[in-house]
């Protein structure tokens, strides 16, 4: 039987399709990340902490919402680890498990202005809510 911690790790690895063991810990993902300063845990730490099975800490962190999904880390990783996908899987785990979304439709009106494209609202809802 897997305990909860292991189950979470399995789920993140399976859903993201990422094998954290491929990481050689060069840190290029964090070296390339444009949102590094906004994050508490950085892309290379996501990979390492998933490998270690400490997913709950990541789920609780605001860092999961700071990733831009710009895929620069994925593109530049020499080992094909795809950190952005692992962050996405942890983020989905967080919003799915919590049962409370990071952003809801009610939050939207105050966040938008007349010029904002629909695409931004759609994307934000996809990224921050179930």
């Amino acid at each position: 039987m897997l305990d909860k911690k292991e189950l979470l790790k399995e789920q993140v690895i399976r859903a993201s399709g990422v094998n954290p063991l491929k990481c050689m810990r060069c840190g290029k993902c964090s070296g390339t990340c444009p949102s590094y300063d906004e994050m508490e845990y950085h892309p290379h730490q996501f990979v390492y902490m998933v490998e270690m099975g400490d997913i709950e800490t990541l789920m609780k962190s605001e860092s999961v919402y700071k990733c831009l999904s710009c895929f620069a880390c994925v593109e530049r990783c020499p080992r094909g680890v795809e950190p952005a996908k692992i962050i996405e899987a942890v983020r989905l785990e967080a919003i799915r498990q919590k049962g409370n979304n990071h952003m809801t439709a009610n939050d939207i009106p105050e966040k938008v202005n007349d010029d904002i494209p629909q695409q931004a609202i759609m994307s934000a809802m996809r990224k921050y809510s179930k």
Binding site: R14, A15, S16, G17, P34, S35, D37, E38, Y65, K66, L68, S69, C70, F71, A72, V74, E75, E82, A84, K85, E88, A89, L92, H102, M103, I108, K111, V112, N113, D115, I116, P117, Q118, Q119, A120, I121, M122, S123, A124, M125, R126, K127, Y128
Partner: protein
């Protein structure tokens, strides 16, 4: 006349009408007919990379099927739609489990269709210009060359990454937009931030964060001598402009229309 299927996307119906309008007008001049697929639905804005995410990708699959039924490539203009649809197509081609599950969902639709497994070719309007029309032909059709204008091509992330999936151009040293700029008679400005992120959807969650990224892009373009930035993405444009770009940001179709002489206010 070459016929291609066309997926405009929500934003092109609202905030980014110019992007759509001029895409159509220019296509006509270049001998391509954009056949808008019927009853298209929003692509979802972003591609969710999780394997277990199915439902949000179905609208893209339906669009892909519509194009398959016409036996035409599916062309998009908006970078975001393009990214979502191309990634979905890649996943349905290469991930058997996703393919089976997606087809299972679609078998619930009213119309009965063959299972879809990635047959449609997904093209961005830029790829259409490069691979189908050809930049040489554009050069011939230009009536209003934008001579002397120094233009920064802003790729952003969505057109290029993941490079293996998008197969759009070299993700670190792309050339397609620069070639486009040359084709309409202007001078491309190469700057290091052309393939960095504008901040994207984070604009809602953390506007400050998005501002930092956007400023880095526009400052870099400006410092390399650009007087204008060009993009294919409404969200990129929004972020760059909203965060106080010192140089104007326009859609590439606007420039193309100007060069081809089909922009309404060219002489205004």
């Amino acid at each position: 006349m070459i016929k291609v299927s066309y997926f405009p996307g929500c934003t092109l119906r609202t905030k980014a009408k110019q992007l759509d309008l001029y895409a159509r007008k220019c296509a006509e001049v270049l001998g391509v007919q954009l056949c808008e697929i019927e009853d298209w639905q929003c692509c979802g804005g972003v591609f969710v990379s999780n394997n277990d995410e199915i439902a949000s990708k179905l609208s893209s699959v339906r669009a892909l099927i519509a194009a398959k039924e016409e036996d035409r490539p599916l062309v998009t203009v908006c970078s975001a739609c393009h990214n979502v649809i191309k990634q979905t197509n890649y996943q349905i081609t290469n991930d058997e489990s996703f393919r089976n599950r997606a087809n299972l969902y679609l078998s619930q639709d009213k119309e009965k269709r063959e299972p879809y497994s990635g047959e449609t070719k997904v093209m961005h309007y830029f790829e259409l210009l490069r691979d189908v029309v050809g930049f040489d032909k554009i050069k011939e059709k230009v009536v209003n060359p934008l001579t002397g204008r120094k233009i920064a091509a802003y790729y952003g992330c969505l057109l290029l990454r993941p490079g293996k999936v998008m197969a759009f151009d070299d993700p670190e040293n792309p050339a397609i937009m620069e070639e486009f700029i040359r084709a309409i008679g202007a001078e491309p400005v190469i700057y290091p931030y052309r393939n960095e992120c504008c901040g994207g959807y984070v604009a809602l969650e953390d506007p400050e964060s998005a501002k930092k990224k956007s400023n880095a892009v526009t400052n870099s373009a400006e410092s390399h001598g650009a007087e204008l930035a060009v993009t294919a993405c409404p969200l990129c444009k929004y972020n760059l402009v909203q965060n106080g770009s010192n140089i104007p940001v326009v859609y590439f179709t606007e420039l193309l229309a100007e060069a081809l002489g089909v922009k309404e206010d060219t002489n205004a």
